[in-house]
């Protein structure tokens, strides 16, 4: 068995546990990071509120994984490609997804994956672990074209048990692909705890099977996360191949709004996890470093509050897609046999039609 020492710079109280990287002495990156983490959390709160009031669908909260999402989002260059799983809204927003369209996706509307600002980033992927292989395909395209770019893909702890994930690590190793795999080990896959997923000591050990480097990082510590992601990206840019990063976090929320985590995990465990949460940790450190104070905090909260509120309003006033959109993106060109169905769908949706809905 291998054991990796977990990479950590800040303890849960935000106190450094070792010499910090040089860049920590300047507030720039840390402030941006904090900004997006707060944004992520407020997005989350709003999304849950929208869902609870029947204005959005089932939603996967990212509570507790803000440090992972934001550090990845900030470390990537716009030339890189993100292949997310379904819990990376913050990362997607940093990379350009309009906030209202992030809501739109969870509102059950394909346009949430459509923004041109997302460039070649992948859309949310519901079928677990498939994205790991897509990321390898993306990275292969970069490698074939001799580009100095990298692909980052995320996955949950549960997802690491599915064959696709291991197949992806393996091909990334053989072909030395410029790809970074990040496991958001939030300890739970819906109701299944980490220890029931695998007997591996660490999820980072999965890398050994593929002959690639793996490391475990404190996923509540943005400094550790940035260090890990930056160096993995660097390796990728330099043609040194893939890296696996296990980011240890905790799912502070229910699995989704359709879930009730009290059925299967203890309150104590949850309470304890809150002690380690990423936002407080960074805030404490920034206060300690005199980069931050209560006034700045209040101003930020208000700024972001407005941003989120505006995005939610935009989302809510967004009309439904025309019914024929069901057909118009299936193929580049509409095949003959769908013309009839498309026409029929339009007729059915019209006043007097079997599927007419008031107000659409």
């Amino acid at each position: 068995m291998t054991t990796h020492n977990i990479l950590q710079y800040l303890d849960p109280e935000g106190t450094p546990t070792q010499t910090l990287p040089q860049w920590c002495s300047s507030p720039d990156w840390l402030l941006r990071c904090y900004h997006y983490m707060v944004l992520a959390r407020q997005f989350d709160t709003k999304a849950i509120a929208l869902q609870r009031t029947g204005q959005m669908g089932t939603y996967a909260s990212l509570l507790g994984s803000e440090a992972i999402d934001v550090s990845v989002g900030l470390s990537m260059s716009s030339e890189d490609v993100l292949v997310p799983y379904y819990r990376n809204h913050a990362c997607q927003i940093i990379r350009g997804m309009p906030i209202d369209e992030a809501f739109l996706y969870w509102g059950g509307d394909e346009r949430g994956n459509a923004s041109a600002a997302m460039q070649k980033d992948f859309p949310n992927a519901v079928p677990i672990a498939t994205q790991s292989l897509h990321a390898c395909g993306v990275a292969t395209a970069m490698k074939v074209r001799n580009q100095k770019r990298a692909t980052i893909t995320l996955i949950g702890d549960g997802g690491t048990s599915k064959g696709d994930f291991m197949e992806a690590l393996n091909i990334a190793g053989v072909w030395q692909l410029p790809v970074v795999f990040i496991i958001n080990n939030n300890q739970w896959a819906i109701s299944v705890p980490r220890k029931i997923q695998t007997a591996a000591t660490q999820l980072a050990d999965k890398a050994v099977a593929a002959g690639i480097p793996g490391m475990q990082v404190d996923g509540n510590d943005v400094i550790a996360m940035r260090e890990a992601v930056d160096s993995a990206l660097q390796r990728a840019y330099e043609g040194k191949g893939p890296t696996l990063i296990e980011a240890v976090s905790y799912r502070l929320s229910d699995h989704t709004t359709a879930d009730d985590a009290t059925r299967y995990r203890s309150n104590d465990e949850l309470k304890e996890a809150w002690e380690r949460e990423p936002i407080k940790r960074l805030r404490n450190f920034m206060v300690l470093s005199q980069f931050w104070d209560e006034n700045k905090e209040q101003a930020l909260l208000q700024e972001i509050n407005q941003l989120i509120q505006q995005a939610a309003d935009d989302y809510l006033t967004r009309g439904i897609q025309p019914v024929e959109s069901m057909f118009d993106y299936l193929y580049a060109e509409l095949p003959d046999h769908l013309i009839e169905q498309r026409d029929w769908a339009i007729v059915r949706a019209m006043k007097g039609g079997s599927h007419y809905q008031e107000g659409e």
């Binding site: 677990i128 048990s161 439904i320 959109s325």
Partner: protein, 329 residues
């Protein structure tokens, strides 16, 4: 004396599982989140408490694995009942289902067999995320060696699931999640199975035959009811076992009514409706007084939930199609 329970379809599944597990020690359940959590829909609620860890197994996240394990267990005399959390996630399990479960008996000339059940909720209409709403039952129905069963009421869920569990061959049991909780029925937990491979005639009528299964039975029955007010008598057939298909019952009905409308939520192209229509066109062409109509989902991807209702046929569509078929001369 057995107790009567007023249960919805979901609870009927739970009742059948508990009932049969008490009688047959070889039954084990496996799947994602089926244990402590009792399943994301609660189909296996409380079973872990009653039957323990060794008979109700939470698995790691891997559908290929769930199917593969089930095959291994079933060849050794256990009776695994696996849950695939949503039918949209059954694809990684298909290699095992198609290449092994469906073939083990044939491949070994009966030496080994795979008596197992794979349960999965399917179909749209609950405003779920992508991949939680598909109806790809036709893919499974095309595979020789499988049985594919779809209940459309709590009573039939209870009886057919017992039938599936006792069946000596692999059965895919698809649960129409849109009607998981919509109707309650009184069920006596008497352990009586319903036969697989048989349609159920839910309503007799002489004017036209309506054939459907799963959640669409609800709309089909509503349509029949509304049409009866106009004096049109529909015969409503619940296919229930979509494979092997009970063509006799359907053919007999078409011989009587001369008109056929098939209703399903799945895409029309190569949906099960195609096989039913083809069989009738092959065996009862002269009985037909009008073209066979299929009221089905479009040949496009099930849209995200904001538009899913536009995809799925509804009661009015069925009525329209029936009227059109009746008007044909």
């Amino acid at each position: 004396m057995t107790m009567k329970h007023s249960v919805c379809l979901l609870e009927a599944v739970n009742l059948a599982l508990a009932s049969e597990m008490r009688k047959d020690e070889d039954i084990v359940l496996l799947g994602e989140d089926i244990g402590v959590n009792g399943g994301v829909f609660r189909a296996t609620a409380n079973l872990r408490d009653e039957f323990g860890l060794k008979r109700v197994m939470d698995t790691p996240l891997a559908e290929s694995m769930i199917a593969g394990l089930s095959i291994g267990m079933s060849t050794q005399g256990l009776k695994p009942i696996a849950e695939i959390q949503f039918m949209g996630f059954i694809f990684p399990a298909l290699e095992h289902i198609i290449c092994h479960a469906a073939r083990m008996r044939n491949r070994t000339r009966g030496r080994l067999s795979c008596p197992l059940v794979i349960r999965a909720p399917f179909g749209g209409g609950i405003h779920a995320p992508e991949h939680h709403s598909e109806s790809t039952e036709a893919l499974l129905a095309h595979i020789p060696g499988l049985k594919v069963v779809i209940p459309s009421s709590p009573t039939r869920a209870y009886g057919l699931l017992l039938g599936a569990i006792r069946d000596p061959d692999p059965v895919i049991f698809l649960e129409p999640k849109r009607i998981y909780r919509s109707v309650h029925q009184e069920i006596e937990d008497n352990g009586e199975a319903l036969p697989l491979g048989r349609c159920f005639t839910l309503r007799e009528g002489k004017d036209i035959t309506l054939v459907s299964w799963g959640a669409m039975i609800t709309e089909t029955l509503s349509a029949a009811e509304l049409l009866s007010e106009q004096g049109i008598q529909c015969e409503v057939i619940d296919v229930a076992s979509i494979s092997p298909l009970d063509t006799e019952t359907i053919l007999a009905s078409v011989r009587k009514t001369g008109r056929l409308v098939i209703i399903h939520e799945a895409s029309k192209n190569l949906g099960l409706g195609a096989e039913i229509a083809a069989t009738v066109a092959e065996k009862s062409l002269l009985d037909l007084q009008a073209p066979i109509a299929r009221v089905a989902g479009y040949d496009t991807v099930m849209p995200y939930f904001r538009m899913e209702n536009h995809f799925m046929p509804n009661t009015q569509d069925i009525i329209d199609s029936v009227n059109q078929t009746l008007e044909f001369v």
